[in-house]
Assembly symmetry: C2
Homo-oligomer: 197 residues x 2
């Protein structure tokens, strides 16, 4: 069912501008109105419906493009961190910065989680996951994170806990102001071997 | 987009038999062939395609019916457990029995996770979750499970970890024989306060 898409570089300048405006409008509009429709987003982007559907025939494709854009922006922030020193402190810093990014695009993520398969959302995170994976492996080698669970599993749990928190906030079951603490405590509890400070 | 469905009780006897055969065939066929198509399932159920699509117009509806059926069967198993005594041991027992059920319908769950929204899958688990919720609350009151995280969050983590394990096995990143241990260690690590045995 994949629609063949011209590479971004192959679009004319006005089409590139429209595409960028639509993606930006998707992120902004969902932040204010999590249930915003494709038509609401076209209006916010100041493009016609035909233009919107020309770039993104389905809501799933639009949400995937917006999530990819948000992740690329996030990469710039996370890439500036230097996860050295105590792996626990580095994990807390990395997870808290990541959560600020998730929280900022929370409505987008929740909308994407309704439209895209979990495995696809996970694939889109491959770059941001590499950084966490490296830190988890170092923490295991230094004896700070438990080594009786595979690194790939610790990474999965990190992903699930952060995305689960976004869903729980959307469902009204988790206080947004408490989410960062809940994520941190859950991951440190699950990953450390009882020698945590 | 919901298709109006006649209540089960309103179906004629042969239609009820066909429906039950389709649901049973879905579970069996996916167990052997996780990528089985609607047509494969119709053949296994010995019904025509028109009959299959008459009962379940979409793959999502078929998978939801099959998952609901598997959960109802699972409820009978879990309802026979008596989660008394040490909350840690009771949680381990409940989670290991639940995992056996998940593991038995793992391909169905992974298929459902591709077609149904996470929130919908969560809703289908409402009955089985009540039992875990009660145990988690008791463990908190007895000071065995950490009380600085909401029960609703511990329940969410339990759900995410078990379903995440099914996805990780399907992706080839987790050894099926190790999954039960990994789930148990992750949840006990996250939920206990360091006074675990």
């Amino acid at each position: 069912m994949a629609v063949e898409e011209r590479p971004k570089g192959g679009l004319r300048a006005d089409a590139r501008r429209n595409r960028a405006a639509i993606v930006a409008a998707t992120i902004e509009t969902l932040r204010r109105t999590p249930e915003a429709s494709m038509i609401d987003i076209a209006a916010a982007a100041r493009v016609g419906r035909m233009t919107l559907y020309g770039h993104f025939p389905t809501r799933a494709e639009l949400l995937e493009a917006a999530l990819t854009h948000a992740l690329e922006r996030g990469e710039q922030t996370l890439g500036a961190l230097e996860p050295e020193g105590d792996p626990r402190a580095a994990l807390v810093q990395l997870v808290e910065s990541s959560w600020q990014l998730v929280d900022d695009s929370r409505a987008l993520l929740v909308a994407a989680q309704k439209e895209l398969a979990p495995a696809r959302i996970r694939e889109l995170h491959v770059r941001s996951e590499a950084r966490v994976r490296e830190l988890l492996g170092r923490g295991q080698r230094e004896g700070v994170f438990r080594a009786d669970l595979p690194v790939s599993w610790l990474l999965t749990v990190t992903h699930l806990v952060m995305h689960g928190a976004a869903d729980e906030i959307a469902a009204g079951r988790l206080d947004p102001g408490d989410a960062s603490r809940v994520i941190r405590e859950t991951l440190l509890g699950a990953f450390t071997t009882g020698n945590a400070a």
